[in-house]
Symmetry: C2
């Protein structure tokens, strides 16, 4: 996964590094990672991916094969490549804890390092933080919509590759999902696994009732049967019959849940619940799946559908209506001097910053983006996590991150929790010191032209 | 990348395999991979990812660590795990060549293998084909929009993880992009690399003119300068001055291109072109970037903007408005008997199928999905690529795939090439034999109930 993969970067990071090397520019640079603006369907984001950034930075190293490939490009000098082969990440990182809720403009992560190092890591750091923040922020919406019903990640097949599948499972779990179907994610991150059955299993048998019986025998004591391959009502009756037969011969009912994956889910769930309850299968749960997004789940629950859990695939795994965030990693200081950029629509705030969040009665009321040495009201959201290339604390357990995110949900103002598109009105201000610094730098720059 | 990663699968693939094992079901199953319906903004897809599927199937093998982890789950029997540790993929695959244009309902890939093998591979095969087909299909739209201008993939930072970044670069290249900025993709797939410079490089210097001079010296003989950090017109004048100075002392101009990444791109490109041309820099190219999608590029070119190349990031790397396809992998035959499923909205056509494409005067006129042994008009799109677990031919070079895709673009009817949302009206029919088979199976199933 985050095995050192140093050439997973943009070419310009290396050509700029060559130029810095030639010029002898080795002073510390400070870069901040933040999201410029939120998509219309996001009122808040959940920061995620920091653990993978730490692993990447600790392991960063160019192997001889990497250097040899770069040599073949004919763009790099031998002294620079020799320097590159010795390069390790020696800088510091401050970051929001994973699972922290955050807003547009707020630095999620700050890197301070010699400019070659700080620049080189940009592409992969963004790539890692972007992916998990995209997915955790989408997952939060599902969790808010599901009102305590269990959510299971079914998205591996449509996630964008291997890392996306594994990190989506992780990001969804830390944001409040209960389980994943992706076995490798269970193994790697200790996420509870959950699985049901596929239509093909039913179709491979002479008939559905036989398929149900075989699957239950094989997977005793409890399993989930998929009941929408041919006719949901008939399948629900078959489940009842199967459970009765098993109980009559002294076995457990053998069926923990049924899954409905197509059709009018509300209607079918009501019918299935009725048939199961009438047949003494009140304990058999109902899982709904099939192209579900968070609005669909919200509507189903508002209509009072009898459901115990949701399987969520594509909409989560690619964050379907907002698969990307306008996330940037920008220089704010070099060699002790604050920096800014004035590109239209992409101007940045200069200087090393901190985010302060104010809370009243256990609910957030506002955030303030201030210079690091200011002390406005509120608690600090960015904490030092790496110093001179080494972590300052042990990595938090995923369960701990998940608990932190649950706490964030509880402290979120109602207007931030709402799924409706539009602004929450939550106040994120930029301190007057930051504004004054930007004005001062602008004037200096204008004077130089 | 596609290193054997056997637990990157859904849990139910393994629990179904356990059940098949217990029941002694080992006959051949035939699964077809297809896209049910296209997103509103796709009139056609480009099949991609087959090479990675081949690598995955050839390497598939459960290691002792994998088996040990599965044992800890307490869901699998010792005899089944022993069988799993010996499992290799021994089946056959027929597929459309990568780069082939295809439509909803058409099988892109068909797997024939003992049911445990054919079922187990579902999740990862979908994951691999889905990702690259999503990106190649989006890339095609950029290529059609760009009317011969060069397109460069800048998307790594916002692609969903490592594999997504590398396979997006590959998929975009095979669909007609010229280059990628992702170094590892250049190394791994032989894609030409292209890179410019970032705003941070400019900001790290005392002033922009100094930054330009240093970058050009370092990267002689030719490089791309980013001119929108502060003021585009002033930066364009600085480029002219720099080129003149260099020419006066007998060096090359040193600047191959300028990049504009923000603001009103059409307006700024016209201004920059004017300044460059007036200053004797007619040979300096203009690259535009900054949140570009294919419609934006189409509009820019319709307005006659002076541009030589486009850098494309997010919109390509996550296929922004259609990051997922409704792609499925469905059982169509087991133990020699055709199968179907009747789930509402998700019914499947039974039997082993082939796609036949008819051409008139070098342009496609219609496709027909028929049973494998039918012989309707047209040429076959699915070819055998693997038999008893081994490839039947050497993997095609990426350049060859790219040439095949270019040919597809040339043979595409005008209504399919259009970027407008909506149907192309292109006819994809299902043969009467397939329909008759479905009716026959439906009747058989009804008789059994």
């Amino acid at each position: 996964m985050t095995e050192p993969f140093p050439l997973l970067t943009d070419l310009y990071q290396l050509t700029m590094a060559q130029a810095y090397f030639d010029e002898g520019l080795h002073a510390d640079a400070v870069f901040e990672l933040f999201v410029r603006t939120l998509p219309p369907t996001r009122r808040v984001l959940i920061a995620a991916g920091l653990e993978q950034v730490m692993e990447y930075l600790e392991g960063l190293q160019f192997g001889s094969g990497d250097i040899e490939y770069l040599r073949t490009l004919g763009r790099f000098s031998a002294p620079f490549l020799a320097e590159l082969s010795r390069l390790r990440f020696t800088g510091s990182v401050r970051a929001m804890s994973e699972g922290t809720a955050c807003f547009a403009g707020e630095p999620l992560l700050t890197v301070t390092a010699p400019i070659i190092e700080a620049q080189l890591i940009e592409s992969r750091v963004l790539n890692l933080v972007h992916l998990q923040t995209v997915i955790a922020s989408k997952a939060l919406r599902f969790v808010l919509a599901a009102r305590g019903r269990a959510l299971v990640d079914f998205g591996m097949r449509r996630a964008h590759g291997q890392e996306a599948a594994l990190y989506a499972a992780r990001a969804a779990y830390l944001a409040g999902f209960e389980a994943t179907a992706t076995v490798e994610a269970g193994r790697r991150f200790g996420i509870p696994l959950s699985g049901t059955m596929a239509h093909s299993y039913i179709e491979a048998h002479a008939d559905e009732a036989t398929a149900f019986r075989c699957f239950v025998e094989s997977r005793d004591p409890a399993t989930t049967l998929l009941i929408d391959t041919y006719d949901i009502e008939r399948a629900a009756h078959d489940v009842v019959k199967l459970a009765q037969e098993r109980r009559e011969r002294g076995a457990s009912a053998g069926v923990a849940a049924v899954r409905i994956d197509s059709g009018d889910l509300a209607l079918e769930a009501h019918k299935a619940r009725g048939i199961l309850d009438a047949g003494g299968c009140q304990a058999v749960k109902i899982i709904l799946s099939g192209g579900l997004d968070e609005q669909h789940i919200e509507r189903l629950l508002e209509s009072g559908v009898p459901v115990d859990a949701f399987g969520v695939g594509t909409a989560l795994a690619v964050a379907q209506e907002a698969p990307a965030l306008d996330m940037a990693y920008k220089l704010v200081e070099y060699a002790g001097t604050p920096r800014l950029k004035r590109s239209p629509g992409k101007a940045t705030w200069p200087g090393r910053k901190q985010v302060f969040r104010s809370t009243v009665g256990g609910t957030w009321v506002s955030d303030c983006i201030a210079l690091e040495n200011e002390r406005p009201a509120g608690h600090e959201l960015l904490h030092e996590v790496m110093r001179t290339g080494r972590r300052v604390t042990a990595p938090p357990a995923l369960a701990e991150i998940r608990a932190h995110c649950r706490m964030q949900r509880e402290q979120m103002p109602e207007a931030v929790r709402t799924l409706e598109p539009g602004s929450s009105g939550y106040v994120v201000s930029v301190s007057r010191e930051v504004e004054a610094l930007a004005v001062r730098l602008d004037a200096q720059m204008a004077a130089r032209l």
